[in-house]
Amino acid sequence: MMSHRRLIACLVLLCVASIIGVAAAETPTEVRIGVYEPMTGAMAAGGQMTWEGIELAQKHRPTVLGLPVRLILVDNRSDKVEAATAVTRLVQRDKVHAIIGSYGSALSMSGGPIAQEAKVPVMGCSPTNPLVTLGNDYYFRACFIDPFQGRVMAQFAFEKLGAKKAAIIQDVAQDYAVGLANFFKEAFIELTGDPEAIVANTYYQTGDRDFTAQLTHIASTNPDVVFAPGYYADSAVLISQARSLGIDAPFLGGDTFEAPEFIEIGGKNVEGVYFSTHYSADAPITPASEEFVALYKAEFGKAPNTFAALGYDCYMLVLDAIERAGVVDPVAIRDAMAETKEFMGATGIITLDENGDATKSAVVLQVQDGEFKLVDVVHPR
């Protein structure tokens, strides 16, 4: 009997010792946050702006739980296959505790399942397609989603611009553009009550440079507005060609228009273009907004953009989750992240819903004299 007890006591001791031993071996000396963003390719501007914000946030808050935070950046080259490879590399080689990324919904959708399988949480900055987080309990995002964004622009076209007929030209190779075009279409038909309200719906592919045939078709249908979801460089070239073909109708787009390249490439041709986006430095929402604007201006000497703000918020959201989790463990961080409530971000107050999406206001900007000017703020219902 006695020997039995002794044996059990020994075993218990052994167990405890081994647990402590394992815990000691796993005590992290740093927090690794992987970042996968398009630093080159068709979406390079978006990735680089986001990275600016992430780096700025890390500079501002370099530690969590007393440990230094290390950022590991991998370029996904605006390519869906590269995006999957980038996430694989982050989880397998760099063994990151959390991931931030990526600008470009299609890129996030190809990285998502890999992070989910590896049980590493991801905080998306600006992927707005609903499918990014749907069915993936390891993917979260700091931005609104496209059913809302599409509706914002449809409502803007209908109520503010008085449009009755709209044409759509979309980048068919991008989940972002395809999704946004569909949500715009649904909302616009519902608002006008006219099933024929979309007079033309045509397509192109990322990187195409000649849009004249599609635009000639659109010109022949004489729309009140043209909705053209796509990335900044393609869209600027497209709108320039539309103007030279004599299409005077206002062009509308989504958050991907917000890049300095859009104005540089488009020049005078993109004057008057409207688009929805996540944030404007002209409409600060929280105390964190003002803090961020001050930090950004001190670092870069110019007014910040949406993507830098979202990158900044993503980093802070990840740190917030780690702090609440109390341990540097990907699964624990994921659970804390899912509980994010009323987080004061630079881009607004962020509460994540059951899908891991944020419900936030959108702003509508217009290109005026070569600058993005705030024209409207739309709150979710």
């Binding site: 630093m39 080159t40 390719g41 068709a42 390079a44 501007a45 680089q48 370029d75 068919v172 190779a173 033309a200 719906n201 045509t202 397509y203 192109y204 592919q205 990187g207 195409d208 440079r209 000649d210 004249t212 045939a213 599609q214 000639t216 078709h217 010109a219 022949s220 460089a233 600027a236 070239v237 320039s240 030279s244 073909l245 004599g246 390249e261 540089e264 490439i265 020049g267």
Partner: protein, 297 residues
């Protein structure tokens, strides 16, 4: 489709087709002499747009000077590429030179990313080329006239060089057989260098026109125009200069008309170009104007 829209699409087709034609000439010329598909042609074209861009943006040159310098620099670059990557393989199996060409293509686009940066640049935009012109109901820009005229002029100059000059004779001799040509006193290496210089200069002219037309330039821009011009060159009969022009125009027209008549299929226009390539290779591998295949032993 009304007549006005159709006429507008004809104009669209001419603008796009002449640009393809311009690029395809350089492609086909190198093949005609060397029997080498120069896959780096698209990247030479890409780098030339950056030469022109930096000439104006950094060195503040007038655009005319910058464009001329670009053509010269690109020609020199073409000669250097030939020396470094193709000449050492002159007597190797033809597939080795092809692989080397693909290597050069990747090297250049990645070097472009490192040196020029991943974000797109805005090409110089002189108002002169973008003046909108209205012909009846058809709207075009000045480039609509400039590019086709340039293509035809270059075609004439090239024909003159290849068929009327001594160096052209040397090029045509080299095309038949390097060794025999050498025995006849032809400086084969020089003829090939000149071929590359002319081919690259044509890529530079194409690059400048592309930049003026589409304004945006980036390090990956060589890939698709390169492939399209390869298709145009094969379609017209690879190695045949007039064929490349014809192929370029037909491809441009085909793409525009596909979208014009079937706007719902606009997303598939690249697929259309490749289907055209496959069909041509299946049914008439020598292309529209191509000569019978000669096998050099």
């Amino acid at each position: 489709m009304t007549l006005e829209i159709f006429m507008q699409n004809i104009a669209n087709g001419i603008t796009l087709g002449s640009l393809y034609a311009l690029l395809a000439i350089g492609y086909t010329m190198v093949y005609g002499i060397l029997r080498l598909i120069n896959f780096a042609h698209g990247e030479i074209f890409m780098v030339s747009t950056y030469f022109a861009f930096y000439g104006i943006a950094i060195f503040a040159l007038p655009w005319q000077v910058s464009f001329v310098l670009t053509i010269i620099l690109t020609a020199v670059m073409g000669v250097i590429i030939e020396r470094a990557a193709y000449r050492p393989l002159r007597n190797a199996p033809r597939i080795s030179a092809l692989i080397s060409a693909i290597g050069v293509s990747f090297l250049m686009s990645n070097l472009g990313l490192v040196i020029f940066g991943g974000r797109p640049k805005t090409f110089f935009r002189p108002q002169f080329f973008q003046i909108p012109i209205q012909l009846g109901s058809v709207r075009v820009v000045a480039l609509f006239f400039i590019i086709p005229v340039l293509t035809v002029v270059l075609l004439a100059i090239l024909n003159y060089i290849v068929y009327k000059t001594k160096i052209g004779l040397a090029m045509r001799a080299a095309q038949w057989d390097f060794d025999v040509a050498r025995l006849m006193g032809v400086e084969v290496d020089r003829a090939i260098s000149v071929t590359f210089a002319i081919g690259s200069a044509l890529a530079a002219i194409g690059g400048i026109m592309w930049g003026l037309r589409f304004v945006e330039i980036n390090p990956n821009m060589g890939l698709f125009p390169g492939l399209k011009c390869f298709i145009a060159a094969v379609f017209g009969g690879i190695g045949n200069i007039a064929g490349a022009v014809l192929g370029g125009f037909l491809l441009g027209f085909g793409e525009i008309m596909l979208v014009a008549f079937l706007p719902g299929l606009a997303g598939y226009r690249d697929a259309f170009a490749f289907i055209l390539l496959i069909l041509m290779l299946l049914f008439r591998p020598t292309g529209l104007l191509g000569e019978k295949q000669r096998v050099r032993t």
